[in-house]
Amino acid sequence: MAERSESEEVKLLGMWASPFSRRIEIALTLKGVSYEFSEEDITNKSSLLLQLNPVYKMIPVLVHNGKPISESLVILEYIDETWRDNPILPQDPYEKAMARFWAKFVDEQIYVTAMKVVGKIGEERDAVVEATRDLLMFLEKELVGKDFFGGRSLGFVDIVATLVAFWLMRTEEIVGVKVVPVDKFPEIHRWVKNLLGNDVIKKCIPPEDEHLQYIRARMEKLNVKSA
């Protein structure tokens, strides 16, 4: 009897506006893996989520044949190792190490620093914007001569860095600060255009209008001044 393919029973607990959840959807879609999406209300977490990710109680959580995996970078590597079509990580050990390095950099440095822009004003905000730009300059340099971080096609770092393209850069409008101006970051802007030319990306990122509305509403709740 032929074995059923590994792609049976794939469930993703996620949230439509979360960059960490969307990156998993991008990876699964790139690989042609069918999955059941379960939208979590992060203000009222389900007992399933709490049971499947007791350590962090956060989305995304991938459940494959009943076994849960948490932490988006860990999930992405699991997906790449389990479903071998359209590889996300490079084969070469050095290139792989560099991809892991940049992905970690996006999540631990850029994301953490950029988040601080929200809720700050004046000089304090200027300092955070400056710090974010310094970090983004590393990504800018990485993109020189490449269509994507992954080279000619989308890869691990591109998927992770959608956080910059469709969250950080979308927030600019609302927060009223051009953190990533095109004159300073022409490569990043070119890369975003390349991303938008990709069908999987277009399908998997949150729809712009609803997304902006959601971000505005959240900021108002946090009593943040917008432009």
């Binding site: 932490e71 699991y78 390095f101």
Partner: protein, 227 residues
């Protein structure tokens, strides 16, 4: 095997450097250990890790790899024919190992460090309580991962053993400084026994720093405020 040009920038006292060294020892890779002088950063370090300016940096055939857990995975993937596998072979087990390694760095280590940087008794006790809590979580993780075998990785030390085990010297220093035992037979029996086995491993024993030497170094790094 081939004398690949392998250099490691680091320090005898660093937990993160130790991870790289254990991995190199496991794979029987000869390397040049370039020790940094305490209090200053070498040209080579700044050039090889311009993003973080931190150790360890593995330089293999002139190509730098940064971030300890990324280095360990690189070593495992670049030298597949020598020594045991450092990461488990099944994608799910790999995901679990990566999850806990990230937890150790992002959650557990942060609270351990807080004990050393705590200002006053109250802050110190809060940090101690947090380490107790997180160690309990790791005790359960050990039981789940080891499945009755001697190490997180099974019969031999692996990625997760290295991730946590490299802290054992510093953990002991913190216990002595705080006058509080974490790794004891009543609170964390499995981890306590595992710790002994880990320190006895031939790939670890020659590298694990002497506790008195480390404690002396800790006093330099975390000076007590003058009375």
């Amino acid at each position: 095997m081939a004398t690949d040009d392998v250099k490691l920038i680091g320090s005898w006292a660093s937990v993160f450097v130790m991870r790289a060294r254990i991995a190199l020892h496991l794979k029987s890779i000869s390397y040049e250990f370039l020790q940094e002088t305490f209090g200053s950063k070498s040209e080579l370090l700044l050039k090889s890790n311009p993003v973080h300016k931190k150790m360890p940096v593995l330089i293999h055939a002139d190509k730098p790899v940064c971030e300890s857990n990324i280095i360990v995975q690189y070593i495992d993937e670049a030298w597949t024919s020598s020594g045991p596998s450092i990461l488990p072979s099944h994608p799910y087990d790999r995901a679990i190992a990566r999850f806990w390694a990230a937890y150790i760095d992002d959650q557990w280590f942060i609270s351990l460090r807080s004990i050393l940087t705590a200002q006053g008794e109250e802050e110190k006790n809060a940090a101690i309580a947090q380490v107790e809590e997180r160690t309990e979580i790791l005790e359960k993780a050990f039981i789940d991962c080891s499945k009755g075998k001697p190490f997180f990785n099974g019969d031999h030390i692996g990625y997760l053993d290295i991730a946590l085990g490299s802290f054992l010297g510093w953990w002991r220093v913190v216990e002595l400084d705080a006058n509080h035992k974490f790794l004891d037979e009543t609170k964390a029996p499995s981890l306590a026994k595992w710790a002994e086995r880990f320190c006895d491993d031939p790939a670890v024993k020659p590298i694990m720093p002497e506790i008195t030497k480390l404690a002396e170094f800790a006093r330099k790094l975390f000076p007590k405020p003058q009375a």
